[in-house]
């Protein structure tokens, strides 16, 4: 299992479009991907699940992956969040 803590800086938080970008990236990896906020774990490959976390600007998240290429997934997804979803 690999995980990394990230801070959400984008003013609008993670609304529909950023959530979609996150999920789309997560789907590219074979491992299981989770996004955790306040101890609530969301399936990183499900849009509804990610939206359900209601991630606001300033939220601290943990990106966690388990399985094949978990390091790659965490590095890519964490940087996506840190760079305000601007790739």
């Amino acid at each position: 299992m690999t995980e990394r803590e990230v801070l959400v800086r984008s003013d609008a938080g993670v609304h529909a479009r950023p959530a979609m970008m996150f999920v789309r990236e997560a789907m590219k990896y074979p491992c299981e991907v989770y996004l955790i906020k306040d101890n609530v774990e969301a399936n990183g490959k499900s849009i509804m699940s990610v939206l359900g976390l209601a991630i606001t600007s300033g939220s601290r998240l943990i990106v966690r992956a388990r399985g094949e290429d978990e390091e790659g997934a965490v590095a890519r997804l964490a940087s996506l969040i840190e760079n305000d979803f601007k790739n």
Binding site: A16, D38, N39, V40, E41, A42, N43, K45, S46, I47, M48, S49, L51, G52, A54
Partner: protein, 319 residues
């Protein structure tokens, strides 16, 4: 497990299930205080001047006795006792029987930011209702990745990997007149150590993501009859890709169990492959579960019938 916090303001909301009938009369600024102990305290002794062991961090309930007692105090005595009472970090106060606190109490409560409510309920009734509400908040909770549908009154939790078709199955079940509780993210609560209650996260409630369509709101698309907010989980169905060498249950004589928060629920594994009508299988599983609850166990009954027939075969062949 989820560490959920409950604040004084949550008492008034309480999931819409139980209405505590509380009206805030003072101390609005203290509504953000966290409730850490689910217990209540009757502050009678405190009002009489005895503050040893004063459980200030609990919800203070002022019943008919407390209000009658306060009415008998002179203004001076009241000021003294309120001064003492509010010098503790009192969590919040509730006056029952629709008895309103007097101006001096309201003044103190506002100054010390102690939320003060008036409820129409009787004291004992209020305490039992409130304990129920608070206990629900404190009960063990877990968020599961699955879809919860009410099928003929059986709460069926569909599990399985992303893309195996949970949402699509739920969609077909809704079309067949069943009700969606939550898609993708199910909050499961253990209540009274005996039952598992499932509900959806509030903000995404009744929304579904269907690949190729995007996000839909089941409530808007299918109407109010197609949804419900919570449902007891009575069965778990795991959808998984059909494996040629997978050993699937062919008899259903032994009941398998799935453990959630230390409670066991009947469990089936449903192999998915093109051409299998999964919603019908899930629907039938729910009906079969209802039958079992009513004491009819098809697989065992067939087995008994066959065994009986074999036992008596010898007699028949003698005829």
């Amino acid at each position: 497990m989820q560490a959920k916090k409950i604040y004084v303001r949550d008492l008034g909301l309480a999931d819409g299930k139980i209405d505590l009938q509380m009206e805030l009369v003072a101390g609005k600024e203290g509504l953000g205080k966290e409730i850490t102990v689910g217990d209540v305290n009757r502050p009678g002794l405190g009002l009489a001047g005895f503050f040893d062991f004063f459980a200030y961090d609990r919800i203070q309930i002022f019943g008919l006795g407390e209000t009658a007692f306060m009415r008998r105090l002179t203004a001076g005595q009241k000021e003294e006792v309120f001064e003492k009472f509010f010098s503790f970090d009192v969590l919040c106060c509730v006056f029952t029987h629709n008895e309103h606190p007097d101006e001096m109490f309201v003044g103190f409560a506002n100054r010390y930011r102690v939320p003060t409510f008036v409820t129409r309920h009787r004291t004992t009734r209020f305490i039992s209702l409130m304990t129920h509400v608070v206990e629900e908040f404190f009960s063990p909770t877990i968020v599961m990745h699955g879809t919860l549908v009410d099928i003929y009154g059986i709460g069926m939790l569909l599990l399985g990997k992303s893309g195996v078709g949970k949402s699509e199955t739920a969609l077909e079940l809704i079309e067949r007149g069943h009700r969606l509780v939550a898609d993708d993210m199910v909050e499961v609560k253990k209540i009274d150590e005996s039952l598992l209650m499932g509900s959806g996260s509030e903000i995404i409630r009744h929304h579904m993501e269907i690949r190729g369509l995007g996000i839909i709101n089941a409530r808007d698309v299918f109407g109010i009859r197609s949804i419900r907010n919570r449902k007891r989980i009575e069965m778990v169905a795991l959808l998984e890709e059909w494996k040629e060498d997978g050993e699937y249950d062919r008899l259903g004589i032994d009941e398998k169990r799935y453990t959630i928060l230390d409670l066991e629920v009947p469990f089936i594994t449903v192999p998915v492959r093109p051409g299998r009508n999964i919603p019908v299988i899930i629907e039938t599983a729910a009906l079969n579960q209802r039958l079992k609850k009513m004491g009819v166990f098809s697989a065992r009954e067939l087995d008994n019938r066959i065994q009986n027939w074999m036992r008596t075969e010898g007699e028949r062949s003698n005829d």
